[in-house]
């Protein structure tokens, strides 16, 4: 009886999932597999091979990969510093870190637009100091900056958690057995925090791959990522069928990324499964 009651409690969520996840997914599949006249087709999938779509997908993968690497390089040392601080200090710094996230994502990105513009805040300061102007607005670099800025906390937090869970005596043991601090990091600390790194990569790479807001605002209309292409199919060209087809292709890449993460994670955990 108790089991049945707890199942009842799950009903609202099940209803929610069905209505807002399952139904839209089915609709996307339907649109993706049909033409405007309702006939079955695979053209919406094969459309990814068109040069402009391939280029948008390739650029999206490149930019999100670069952003992910930059996030990792920035986040790991930061997480290490945080994990070494006392509880009070690190709580404060984590708070400062996630404070911008309390602000709307769109607003934050718009702020960067204002900062980076040719006549924006940064260039005004540079001009005042008689330094050369910074012309990165509407370039891939600006998009990477936007991605790193927006998604960095998602890299820091899982790595910080993994480091906090690490038994300090394991690090002591490595030192005790003759490892210097670099060897200790390479052979013990990094491998043991790999699950945190992997989830950080997933949490940065996937939203970066699918974003269209950052590229819209910071890349101008010239640089199209796959997210922008899909957005345009839905909002401008009104071709929901092509948009859905491309979305499903993109979803394939996301699933691929998650499978890879799971495989790596298992290796990182060692023989937990074996």
């Amino acid at each position: 009886m108790k089991n049945r009651q707890s199942r009842l409690l799950a009903l609202p969520f099940a209803f929610w999932s069905a209505l807002f996840i399952l139904v839209p997914l089915v609709m996307i599949f339907y649109y993706g597999l049909t033409t405007k006249t309702g006939q079955f087709t695979l053209d919406n999938f094969t459309a990814i091979t068109q040069p402009e779509h391939i280029k948008a997908l390739g650029l999206a993968i490149l930019l999100s990969a670069v952003s992910t690497v930059i996030c990792l390089v920035l986040a790991y040392p930061l997480a290490m510093i945080l994990s070494k601080l006392g509880a009070n200090q690190s709580a404060l710094i984590v708070l400062i870190f996630i404070l911008p996230m309390w602000m709307n994502f769109l607003l934050r990105t718009l702020a960067w637009q204002t900062l980076l513009e040719k006549t924006g805040v940064i260039n005004s300061i540079l001009r005042f100091l008689h330094l050369p102007a910074l012309n990165i607005i509407n370039t891939p670099q600006a998009i990477i900056l936007g991605m790193v800025y927006n998604f960095l906390p998602f890299m820091v937090l899982p790595i910080y958690n993994a480091l906090m869970k690490l038994d300090k005596d394991v690090i002591h043991a490595a030192r005790d057995l003759g490892a210097n601090s670099v060897q200790t990091f390479m052979k013990v600390i990094f491998p043991l925090t790999l699950p945190g790194v992997i989830s950080g990569i997933t949490m940065v790479f996937i939203p970066a791959l699918t974003t269209f807001v950052i590229s819209n605002l910071l890349g101008g209309s010239k640089i199209l990522l796959i997210g922008n292409v899909i957005e345009q199919e839905f909002t401008q060209t009104n071709n929901w069928h092509l948009g859905s087809g491309l979305s499903l292709i993109l979803m394939l890449f996301i699933i691929l990324n998650m499978v890879l993460s799971a495989v790596f994670d298992r290796n990182g955990e060692g023989g937990m499964m074996g």
Binding site: D167, V170, H172, A173, A174, L177, G178
Partner: protein, 357 residues
């Protein structure tokens, strides 16, 4: 007397203004099984971590074979540590765990393989090379941790409450195992525990610590039979701790009776603490004892009976193989040799014994 392998000189250590060790002096001889024993917060683990190099003292020196190693990082010290919660590398196989230190030293593959075999045999875990640490029980993991440490042939093995996480039966088995290992390897063991029985069973030398001070250093027999102060007497084993007055050499007075003893040199009419172990209290007929009283409790403990006797306004703890029923009037007699006299501490802080052998 073999030479001092480790010498701690005037070590002071505090955390956030809390003094953990205050001017500690201690040496450890070669090939000794030395146990740091005390309640939690007494500074025993800090002492071990200072020797291991995971902490630096605020002041004082640590000498290893005569060389100052105070500032040396752990990886450059010729000693290895076995941690309380094993601290195995969970992402490596057992063989990789054991090989960790040897690989860093650049030993050949055949040497490492031989060492792994030897170490696993030594800890009775043959054939576990390719298992992962998480698939082993706590006791097995602790043995791997020991194997991982000893393959590096350290001069000293530091053990930080290694049996603390194991259940009673396993703990007793591991105690014998550790004594055997110590004898086979012929190296120095420095062992930290709060378990007095463990300390008495395994050690050559016990260092009893409390509140950052060494209370007594001695063999297990010394510590048990001749505790230097009330703390040691109370901490090690069961005891009857009694306020007394030393009347003159070889005569002490408590509970309005005069008791012959063997201690001298305390002076005349000086307040002292007396400790009498429960197994040293002899129950006899009321008229034959130095004082008399009545049995109030009896519990059967297996080897002996544990009895409480009310005599002289004091509840005596008595261990005897002969049972006296509750309510029986009994006399109490103690062999002079079994009455241990101790100086009273003048203050809390002075519950410190400076012992130099």
């Amino acid at each position: 007397m073999s030479n001092k392998l480790i010498d701690l000189v005037n070590i002071t250590k505090s955390y956030d203004n809390l003094v953990v060790l205050d001017d500690l002096n201690l040496y450890i001889r070669e090939n000794e099984f030395l146990t740091l024993l005390g309640p939690s917060g007494c500074g025993k683990t800090t002492t071990l971590r200072l020797i291991g190099g995971f902490e630096q003292p605020d002041s004082g020196k640590i000498l290893f074979d005569g060389d100052d190693i105070t500032q040396l990082p752990p990886n450059q010290r010729q000693l290895n540590t076995v941690f309380q919660k094993y601290a195995l590398f969970t992402h490596m196989t057992i063989a990789e765990n054991i090989a960790f230190g040897l690989k860093l030293k650049g030993k050949s593959k055949s040497y490492i393989d031989d060492k792994i075999k030897y170490a696993l045999k030594l800890v009775n875990l043959n054939g576990y090379e390719n298992r992962m640490p998480d698939s082993l029980s706590g006791g097995q993991q602790q043995r791997i941790a020991i194997a991982r440490a000893i393959v590096n042939e350290p001069k000293i093995l530091l053990l930080d409450e290694p049996l603390g996480a194991l259940d009673l039966k396993l703990r007793q088995d591991m105690q014998y195992e550790l004594i055997r290992l110590k004898n086979e390897l012929g190296i120095t063991f420095v062992y930290v525990t709060h378990d007095q029985e463990e300390a008495l069973t395994m050690s050559d030398t016990i260092v009893v610590m409390n509140q950052g001070y060494i209370q007594q250093v001695g063999t297990p027999e010394d510590i048990y039979n001749e505790p230097q102060n009330a703390f040691v007497a109370d901490f090690i084993g069961d005891s009857n701790l009694i306020d007394a007055v030393m009347l003159e050499d070889r005569l002490v007075s408590f509970f309005d009776a005069k008791w012959p003893c063997v201690d001298e040199g305390f002076g005349n009419h000086v307040p002292v603490d007396v400790v009498i172990r429960p197994e040293d209290v002899v129950l006899c007929k009321p008229e034959e004892g130095i004082i008399s009283g009545q049995v109030t409790h009896v519990i059967f403990k297996g080897v002996h009976y544990e009895m409480e006797v009310m005599a002289g306004g004091f509840e005596w703890l008595v261990h005897s193989t002969v049972m006296h029923p509750v309510g029986e009037p009994v006399g109490i007699f103690v062999d002079p040799f079994n009455i241990q006299i101790m100086h009273k501490p003048e203050s809390e802080d002075e519950e410190v014994a400076y012992i130099e052998e």
